[in-house]
Structure formats: C-alpha cells, structure tokens
Subunit: 341 residues, 2 copies
DNA sequence: GTGAAAGCGCTAACAT
DNA sequence: ATGTTAGCGCTTTCAC
C-alpha cells in the first residue's frame, strides 16, 4: 500500500507538505513543491486512506442517507436528487435501505455515526417497528443530539434537526379544489399511513377544502394504505366491489394512484369518466401512465438540494433546534382528473 | 466522545480486553470480566469508531455497491437483494448511484477503495463515458487487481473478479420459442445497448432460436434502446407509425416492455391480439401491468446472495482470475404472449 | 486471562 | 514555505 510517506519521500518533502497540497491547506505551498507532490502522487498511484483521515479529523465528509426502500419511485427520485446535490458539494453519500423496518434504520444510523459521518438525512423516518422493540431510531437520535439531521417525515421524536417537507396542506387543497371544479361533490380519499406528517397534512387539505365547499367530509369514503402500488391495487379491487359512494378520489401519492389505475382498468372502469383522480408527488411515471395523472408536483430537485444545504448549515453552527421548512408544490393538470387530453 | 479507554477505565480492565470482548477475540476473556465490560459499554453508550478500526485492521467489513440508477426497478430489486444478503452476513453496504456515468462510477470506486472496503459489486458496469474521458472505471480496476470484485455486466476489462449473470442465451431462447409456439413467424426484437454482455447473449438466444426454426433472423425488425421505459415508449411510438413487419416482439427487459405497452395502448393497439410480447427479468411490475407480462424470470434473490458469497470467497483466497458464473432463469407465462389469462 | 505498547495513515499545531 | 511530531481510537503481538 502506498502511503503519504512514500509520496513525501519521492517528492523530497515532508509528509506535512503532502497533506497541505492534498487538502489545499491549512498552510500554503510553493507552486514548484506542489507540482512535485502532485507528480509523485500520480507516479505512485497514491490514494489517501479515508479511514486514517476520518480518524484524525474526527469527522468524514460523508452524508448518511436512509431511504425506506428503492422500489418506490418517489423515494428513488428524492434519493437521487439528494445524492446529486451532496456530490456536487463535495460530500460522499452513503446510502442505507431501511426496507420500512425501524430496526434496520436504526442499525444504519449506528453504522453511519460510527463512521464519523457529518450528517444524516432520513427520507420517511417513520419505519414500522417490529412490535417487540420500540422505535429504536427515535431513541438513538434523541441521545445523539450532536449530528446534523434532516428528516423528510417525520422528524424523529426528541431529536434536534429540521423537518423538510413539501407544503402539503395547500397542495392537497389545490388538488381537491380542482376536482370540485370539475363538478364532483363526492370526493373520497385514498390516504397513506397516519403516522406520516405528510399524510396528516394532505388529509387536512382535503377535509378543509370540502368543508369550505359545504361538503361533509365525514361522510366521504376514506381508505388508507401504504405507499405501495401493489397494496393500493388490492385495496382498490376490494373497494370497487361494493357500490361506489364517490365519483372522484384524492390519492395521497402517485405511487398509490398507479395501483388504483391498474385496478380500475382490471375492473372495467374507464378513467376519468367513471372515476376522476388527482394525486400527489409528481413522479415521472405520472406522465407515462394512461390516463396521465393530474398531480401535485413536488419540487424534488430543490428538496434534495435544500436538504444538503441544511446539513451544511447545521455543520457550521450546531446545535440546532427542531425546525420545519416547507417548499411549495404546484398542481400539474393532465387527464386523470377529467381535463381534456 | 466516549472511547474505548473510558470503557476500560470504568470496567477496571485494560483497553485490550475491551477489544477482545467487542471482537470476540482474538484472546479469550473471563465471563465475569466480559460482563463488566459489556456493562460499561452499555452505561457509557459507547459506540466504536469504525474509522479507527478500519485504519488499524487495514480493511473494513463494508461492501461497496454501485448501481447505474435507482429508477430502474430491476436494478432496485437487485440492489435490495444484494443489500439483504450482505447485511445478513454482517457486511455493511455502501451504495453509489452511478447515474449511467462512467466518471461517477469511477469516483465511487475510488471512494470505496479509499474507505478500505473489502469488496466491490458493480451492477451494470457499462456506464456511458462522457466522450472526452475514456472508461475510467476499467482503468481503475485494472490497476487495482487486489479488490474482491463481482460485476453483473460486464466485468471491467482487464480486471480480476467474477462476472455474475443470469443465463441469458437459454432464457432468451425459451422466450422466443414460446412466441413461435403461439404461431408467430415474424418475431422482432427490442434490444438493449450492445455493450452489455446480457444484450449480446439475449440477442444470440433470439437469433439462434429463429434460425433453428428456419426463420431468417436478419430480415426481422430489430430496434435498440436503453433500459428505460420512457425511451422505449418514444421508440415504440415511432416504430408503430410505419407499417409493422412483425406480429410479436422479444423485448430485452421488462422495463422496456412496460414502455412498449404504454406506447401500444396510446397507439390504439390491443395486446396481445395486435402484438404479442415476451420480455426478460421478471420484475414485480410485470405482474401488475395489463396485459401481464410473460417474461423470463431471473432468480434475483439468489443472484444477490451469490454475489455476496463470491465476494467472501475472494476475500478468503485472493487473488482470483476472471471467471463467469451463470444462474438459470425460468419463463413465466402470463398474458402478454397470447396465453389465456 | 490480562496488560503494555507499538503501530495503522493522516492532520495540524508548533517550530523553524 | 516547509519540517517535526504528537496525537486520532483501535487492534494485536508480546510479555506476564
């Protein structure tokens, strides 16, 4: 293994100078010396040992990113956005797949922390706990008040950090408003798991909009399932077997809406004539499927960039408190709502 | 920060003993002592510093996994399978998203190597290079003959390691055979980029099967696009504008087939009556879409497990040479081929 | 069974 | 501008 000593020897300098060159500081280096060092690096094919560096510096320019799963295109897109923003700022991203399990998520938090990561980003922190163990992630992060932390939903209980979220209430309101504009008065909701802040807020947007229009929300059809097209498919199949009490549906995520579309097709319904739907997120697939999804578009790239920003800010001046930050969404009108193609 | 010294002090032992306990070796520890150590660990909320450990041991129980992108469900599924297998064996997986760019992939290889990872798994190593720079990943891995390496496709030129792949030729043959069994004689192909081994092999399976049936492969329609449903959609839209020279299509991946289905629907075709298709991979979505995809199912979980196995084997006895390993696939008959639902 | 101590490769304060 | 050197936290050989 080639070490910094070898480089120094070949360049005819001290090891410190090699560090100064490679790190661009903290001390200046003469141009000629720098050149010699760089050349020695090249010649020896030297690669710095990140473990040694992390040990010495007591932190590593790494951001730990934990996603609930990769199968959900929304999470995939958000993960990609975060990774892109982080890489652009010189961070390395290490990615953990929690598979919706709190235990796995907590294990990842531990690994990342033990690797001296300089920040943690959680996408969908509300993982299922296995019943026996409680929410280990929360407990862990409550202890570990030091780490820069951004969470998309929710911000772990008792932890410092910031909750970064699309602005769900107005977004959902716009969606439901649009459906009302198409003349629907029986607007049901296919919601996500209640433990998510986003779900609570989208729900509120739906309820308040109905109530503003003097429609009794409590008497509307509401069903709930995970953020999973397959589960949404099964649920919708069952739902469509009984007489329908709704002509339109506000669906919490595009992912679920895709399941609904497939189930509706299988049941012989024609969308949007037999059933109008509007959903939320704005994943790419929304534009591919037939009918194309009218959806509340999240600013996914900005969310990713902002998450990394917030980590940087927290690195600069910690500790932080619990804060919330919302980014605006925009209704994208396509055909699933009944608008002309 | 709590260090091993603190633990040793509280437990009233030496730091060495703490290591022996935490690592279960290399020396035995009296039960009573072990108990005291464990209790001290608990009491202090001690978390070992992975960087220090990696530095000292000269390697880290980490597998670097590089995926071309997370938007492709096949890659997502394979990534998940690998991650599951690795985690089960006590490895931590760090994941890089190459986004189909050779430069990004190479950068990830460097980071992972600099972090003393004990193995590298590349899913889809044939990233696009940006033209100016050559294939940096290949160059890097040719130099670095030491790392345990498993690649799904292809095995970087000049590198030691093993190419792990589904058995594409017989798989593709079974797919085409099945289409011929339905009476088709004009069986086109929607292929992937030629730089992939899998593509070359699936192509061969298609060609040989046609020729065995005395059908001229050279006169069949062949189109090519990336592993991307959106690109497949566009391509198919264009393809369907001119008169069709085929009644059936062998499609290299389910991902592409999904794009074809959407485009066919948009063009007013009914599948499988107007066009029969069989694809490859066996992602979960194949069973959700209408028509459900008849596809050559890869043993995704086994591939993941095997990849990790191979890394372990290479860790045990390196260096390895270039080897190839194939896992058998199985045709799953659904409705897109023309079989009754 | 346990402890002392010599590193692992790098950083950065301090000295020159 | 450059060199010397004391750690960073952990592992493991070697003594006891």
């Amino acid at each position: 293994m080639v070490t910094r000593d070898d480089v120094a020897r070949l360049a005819g300098t001290s090891t410190a100078v090699v560090s100064y060159v490679l790190n661009n500081g903290p001390r200046p280096v003469a141009a000629a010396t720098r050149r010699r060092v760089l050349q020695a690096v090249e010649e020896l094919g030297y690669r710095p040992n990140a473990a040694a560096r992390a040990l010495s510096r007591r932190h590593d320019d790494v951001i730990g990113l934990i996603v609930p799963n990769f199968d959900n295109p929304y999470f995939a897109a958000l993960g990609t956005a975060i990774e892109g923003a982080a890489t652009a700022k010189g961070f390395t991203v290490i990615l953990g797949n929690a598979r919706h399990e709190d235990d796995r998520q907590a294990a990842y938090v531990e690994t990342f922390l033990s690797r001296q990561c300089s920040g943690l980003i959680l996408v969908g922190a509300a993982q299922e706990s296995d019943g026996r163990n409680g929410p280990r992630t929360n407990a862990l992060l409550k202890r570990e008040q030091g780490v820069p932390l951004v969470s998309f939903d929710p911000l772990p209980n008792g932890a410092r950090g910031t909750l970064l979220t699309p602005d769900n209430v107005p977004g959902a309101a716009a969606a439901v408003e649009h459906l009302l504009g198409h003349g629907h008065t029986r607007v049901g909701m296919l919601a996500g798991p209640q433990k998510f802040k986003a779900v609570q807020e989208r729900e509120r947007g739906w309820r308040e909009t109905l109530e503003n229009a003097e429609i009794d929300a409590a008497s509307q059809t509401v069903v709930r399932c995970r953020f999973d097209r397959y589960e949404a498919f099964d649920l919708t199949e069952r739902l469509l077997r009984s007489p329908r009490q709704f002509t339109a549906l506000f669906i919490h995520t595009d992912e679920q809406a895709i399941g609904v579309i497939h189930a509706a097709r299988a049941a012989g319904l024609t969308l949007p004539q037999d059933l109008a739907i509007v959903s939320f997120d704005g994943i790419r697939e929304a534009g591919l499927i037939t009918p194309q999804l009218t959806t509340v578009q999240q600013p996914i790239t900005q969310l990713g960039a902002r998450a990394v920003d917030l980590i940087q800010k927290q690195i600069a001046r910690r500790p932080t408190n619990r804060t919330t930050e919302r980014l605006t969404c925009e209704l994208v009108t396509r055909t699933s709502c009944g608008c002309p193609g």
